[in-house]
């Protein structure tokens, strides 16, 4: 049985842990709000961009533009590039864990099809845990990117690297893995195809409304200019959503931790009081039985 002093020490250490976790929760809540605002601000741009790209890809012959499916390039040895977004810091619940799990799932799916893999990591945590798993095929890892805010230039840099690899036929596909922010308590890991650009099924109505557009220069040239911009904004908004998810996940994790610490303090205090009373009772019995013997 632990002595009373041990118990007192334990209670005070749990109390200070609780203080830390509740402070972290507050900070995460403040950061979450800011991250959400940032993510919201990019939304109009991203949505408009998506609309334009959709209306254009529907009109262009697939093989005619630079970023479409390459018909006969590296057909036997396809290499898929994964851009994996995670956080720089831990203590955010299952956030990084689920990213890592999802990545491993994708990797096994891709390698089953006999395709090679390459990786770009944004964020330290996924890199650290997947470093040995991925081996030499890590092309790049970016850390400390959200300090203090995510800059659009970062997405531009990543985009430039991806496009260079794609144009040199070093990769044939590119996917972005990030966590989609639904609410502070619910986030899901998602993967998004960045390259090659594929024709998506758009409804007839959209095609009709865009059929009277006048393009300057031609559709193909325009698309070649727009696709890089579209990739950059996709990466950027992915990173922003990822950051918001990280903060949301940390907030819930710290909230849970604070509540668990509360429970633990209650239990420990009860145990402490019981032990103290037992000790007093024991001493009393000793005194009384001693007195009776005399």
């Amino acid at each position: 049985m632990p002595s009373l002093k041990d118990l007192r020490n334990r209670i005070s250490s749990v109390k200070s842990t609780k203080k830390i976790t509740s402070a972290m929760k507050m900070v995460a809540a403040a950061k979450l709000k800011r991250a959400q605002e940032n993510a919201e601000r990019t939304r109009p741009y991203a949505e408009k961009m998506k609309e334009i790209v959709l209306s254009l890809t529907g009109k262009v012959n697939k093989s005619n533009f630079k970023f479409g499916q390459k018909p006969n390039a590296n057909n036997d040895k396809k290499i898929v590039l994964l851009v994996i977004c995670s956080s720089d810091r831990g203590l955010c619940g299952g956030f990084n864990g689920s990213i890592i799990k999802y990545t491993k799932k994708i990797v096994s799916e891709v390698s089953e099809k006999g395709k090679g893999l390459k990786y770009i990591f944004v964020g330290k945590k996924a890199y650290l845990s997947l470093k040995r798993f991925c081996g030499d095929s890590i092309l790049e890892q970016i850390q400390d990117f959200a300090n203090p805010t995510i800059k659009f230039e970062l997405a531009g840099d990543v985009r430039d690297k991806i496009l260079k690899l794609f144009m040199n036929n070093e990769i044939s596909e590119c996917h972005l893995i990030y966590t989609e922010f639904k609410s502070a308590i619910s986030q899901t890991v998602k993967s998004q195809k960045l390259l090659p650009v594929e024709e998506e099924e758009s409804d007839d109505q959209q095609n009709k409304s865009s059929s009277t557009y006048e393009y300057e220069p031609s559709e193909e040239e325009l698309l070649d200019q727009i696709i890089p911009k579209n990739i950059a904004i996709q990466i950027h908004s992915g990173l922003l959503e990822n950051l918001a998810s990280e903060q949301g996940s940390r907030m819930t994790a710290m909230d849970n931790a604070t509540r668990n610490a509360d429970d633990m303090i209650d239990n420990l205090t009860l145990f402490y009081n019981r032990s103290r009373q037992a000790l007093i009772t024991k001493e009393l019995i000793e005194i009384i039985s001693g007195a009776e013997a005399v």
Binding site: Y45, P148, L222
Partner: protein, 115 residues
């Protein structure tokens, strides 16, 4: 019905409102957009966007390229980098501003750093 202009960048909505005329730096030459323009999609080069309201020059922006879509009396400009011309002054001013912003950012960072 007046022409609605919207200038969007990844960071913010830079401009939103009804205008008489806007002159844009297209890759194949500058062009103006008036009310009832036909549906039009083009790209921009680096240049200055002029916005006219009530037949007077109301605002100018510096853009570093982008995409413009015009349809149904709505003109949408997508650009990665944009700067209001009135905020551009001398180089000295910009230098001072960025120093100040740096300080504020540092302070905020210290406040929120917990690990």
């Amino acid at each position: 019905m007046a022409l609605k202009l919207e200038i969007l960048s990844p960071q913010e909505i830079a401009y939103q409102g009804d205008v008489d005329l806007c002159i844009l730096p297209g890759t194949e030459g500058d062009f103006g957009i008036l009310n009832n323009h036909m549906p039009f999609l083009t790209s921009l080069r680096i240049g200055i966007v002029y916005i006219y309201i009530n037949k007077k020059l109301s605002e100018t922006f510096l853009v570093t390229g982008g995409i413009v879509e015009v349809s149904d009396n709505k003109c949408t400009l997508l650009t990665e980098e944009i700067c209001k011309s009135s905020t551009i002054t001398s180089g000295q001013q910009i230098e001072e501003d960025s120093e100040e912003i740096k300080k504020i950012k540092l302070k905020a960072l210290e406040k929120f750093h917990y690990s």
